[in-house]
Symmetry: D2
Subunit: 278 residues, 4 copies
């Protein structure tokens, strides 16, 4: 008995649910949960099925190909624990939270390595027996720096790349190589305060709420598909530094909740949006 | 073209989703959204399907009976606006909010009448041209009082009965007559502060958060299936009266959100719990 | 015995709290609550004192002038119920909520009149016996339109002007005439989605949270000092219209909470920020 | 120049704020923030003053004794970083969060030692070079076990004792010895689900929100003064185990926020309630 997650998205047409579940039924599989959504404006069909049983995945995929539109994306996985590489700079709070969750199996993931463009988080990382790689950006071009990171990341073959307060902007060339596989935590309630120093901006604007946003990274830095957001209240007594401090707890929890959704294969990406079956 | 909501719950078995969607597919109907959940501990299957097309509802129900376990509950409706009767006592805030939503069609419902065991909310109700019936409890027994309410309610044949701060305890005999059709707003975060004067209890306990709970009413007063809950923060500067004031806005929004879920046929009741497809 | 609220802001210097409370003590007044905040970056002192007793307000103000820096703002009031005029366009939800709160004394205010640039909210307003004035913008210039509103508002001498979904942009000339006295509800989580159609923007961006912001209106439309903000969660199943519907409940509650803070004289304005003693 | 926090509580009488601030003013000290609250029902006065300057603390306390009621509690401190001992059992999430905050100085505290009645959290604790003491309860009486803990705790002379998922009930004799110095995180939204297995209780009751409560520990286990509470949403898809998982993030953040308030000397305890100047 194995547990499978099947994700399908394709143009909508009549009978899809019936046909898809038919393939599973006639292979004697047991559906535990079905979520389905039709984006009527764009005539798109999204479906996630959690099922169990003994099956030949190739046979299932062949069966599905036979009844689905030719442009359908079909993703059938039994890999419940995802391999990740984490990129960091100097701030520890998101990395700390991920290392603890990795240590105690609180998220269905496995941290293969941490890469930093500074070295300050090496001691923390190594406490948990995770390899830390220092790839400084000084003295080389952006392209050379990204090339080094890319090679190192690829040597680990991770399922996802996590930017846990990695404070450098990645080029579209880089993110394209890991398309739909890079998750970032942005220290503001997107789309408010795009760009640098969001807490300083928030302080200057006198907001009463600050937030954080976890999103997939695409070409356009702060425009990637949003996965999860949350907020916390602030008031006039907080300066920009204290707002940043208050924001840290939101950031780490938002990142963890977004990753849980991603690792459990609950998230579909379409354009700059996500469809999420919670 | 009509829009339908189909709700099914029954013991789980293999192939249910395939068979159910088959009945719809072979009647040439178009599924817009499917939600399905299996309660594995109790081997129960819950499914909600929103679909559109031209069909004979009886034919669909017959088709479903043919492929479902004999104990299945099947509910197929095209009634998108539900008829309700509202019961009140003296507090206006939930009734006000419902009258405004009724006036501006902000909730898919139609208030047929308001019944009060006090007369103070008559002027408010009549501003909106809704009949107000005063049924005082004084000088008669509880059973006689409920009998009067029951007869009046039945004369309106509502789909749901809403207790919008109706401060009398209903007997099990009464609630059984409207089984799974009575929604109450409870002025606390159940199961905290069961019973009378929850805000006084909350004040005395020094809580930092107060809440409200909308639930179906069953025999056991504060034990009915919970539909929706929300909270608001309080602090040491609030006395019991101010906590009650702060609680009012939570109560009215919680009741409205719960009713939206109920009126859109998103809520299943099983035992003292709800399964809700949002 | 009268209840007073004293608000003072001025450049900070040593001994201010002692000197201010001395004036009250030596007039035999009883302080019930003191809130004080020093904006260290800008060397500014803000203080709110709630006190009771019998006193000659002029004598108190003279006493305070004698010990405070000459540039101090001193505001001493016993007016606990504020007079307001409400401006609206076509959407009812904020006006409805305010009319109900006015009817049942749920906010310390008194609605003197409602002014609409459309006539659709007249029947609602008149249900509650509040004068409704229709001032259409068609066929006249913006300046002429504002002039008419200004004259009408001034004829009521309100303490505050409430923009309850008034969908026209006011000129700086207009807002200057009611400086620090105009409160607006903005249908987004400022500073996200500044400008028109915020819910459409939110939908297109695929956000997971939408919000509302109550703020004072200044020259720069969406840059006024923020009083209160709150949010609600949305997901991929909501289109722009449904996001707007979900936003309405947030808007009305945010406006009411902000007005409560303003009417209770808890809010100081400094630049584009507020200092709020809750 | 030193930073001081002064906390005073006593029966209320006229002139207290003036007299207290006078003592500071005539010692040439600079008040940065004042918070004051009068519990009118109980005629109690609470005041917190943050001030800076050069002073002789004894002289200030003498000055205050001279003008305050004889029963006043006066607490004047310059100790901004508090020493703590943490008690744990087997669950790691609150301890992990505290160890990380200790390592990176994210909370104004210093963890002197961790004491466990099981040994499973020793490796985690020792990664951060904090002493871990294993005091098993097996084979000895409750009184003997507490006696061992008490002696060990006292050898560290901590300012506070933190129960970070310490799953044993402490006797009143023990908690009295550390009166108002023991902070616990309770895995429910008190007063809901008092007692064992709150998440199982929450699951069985079908709640839509779960919470956590940080409170001071007094004789009566779940009745101690509440410091901070927060909540997270759950739904029908979560079983008791998943509710507990979802609850962990709330627990760790609630504990950290409560400790920040306590360590910054913002919390007064009166009876079973707290007065908190945020």
């Amino acid at each position: 008995m194995t547990d499978y997650i099947l994700r399908i998205d394709c143009p909508d047409e009549k009978g899809l649910v019936h046909k898809i579940t038919g393939v599973l039924f006639f292979n004697n599989l047991n559906i535990e949960r079905t979520d389905e959504f039709v984006d009527i404006d764009n005539n798109l069909f999204f479906m996630r099925v959690a099922f169990s049983g003994d099956c030949d995945p190739e046979r299932i995929e062949d069966g599905l190909r036979g009844i689905l539109p030719s442009t359908a994306n079909i993703d059938l996985t039994t890999k419940q624990v995802k391999d990740v590489v984490v990129l960091v700079t100097k701030e520890h709070h998101c990395l700390s939270d991920l290392l603890i969750r990795n240590e105690f199996k609180d998220l269905p993931f496995n941290i293969l390595a941490v890469i930093g463009n500074h070295e300050v988080l090496r001691p923390l990382t190594e406490k948990f027996n995770i390899p830390f790689h220092y790839i400084p950006a000084e003295g080389i071009t952006r392209v050379e720096h990204e090339k080094k990171i890319e090679e190192l990341v690829k040597s680990y073959s991770p399922d996802y790349l996590i930017l846990a307060k990695f404070m450098r902007i990645l080029t579209p060339e880089f993110t394209e190589k890991f398309s739909k596989k890079v998750v970032n935590i942005h220290h503001s309630f997107l789309p408010a305060f795009i760009g640098a120093n969001p807490y300083k901006q928030a302080y200057q604007r006198g907001v009463k709420i600050i937030g954080a946003t976890a999103h997939f990274v695409t070409d356009d830095l702060d425009e990637g598909p949003i996965i999860f957001q949350d907020i916390t209240r602030v008031n006039h007594t907080k300066n920009a530094l204290e707002m940043a401090q208050a924001g840290r707890d939101v950031e780490k929890i938002v990142l963890a909740k977004a990753l849980k959704l991603v690792f459990e294969d609950r998230v579909f990406i379409h354009g700059n949006k996500t469809i999420i079956f919670e």
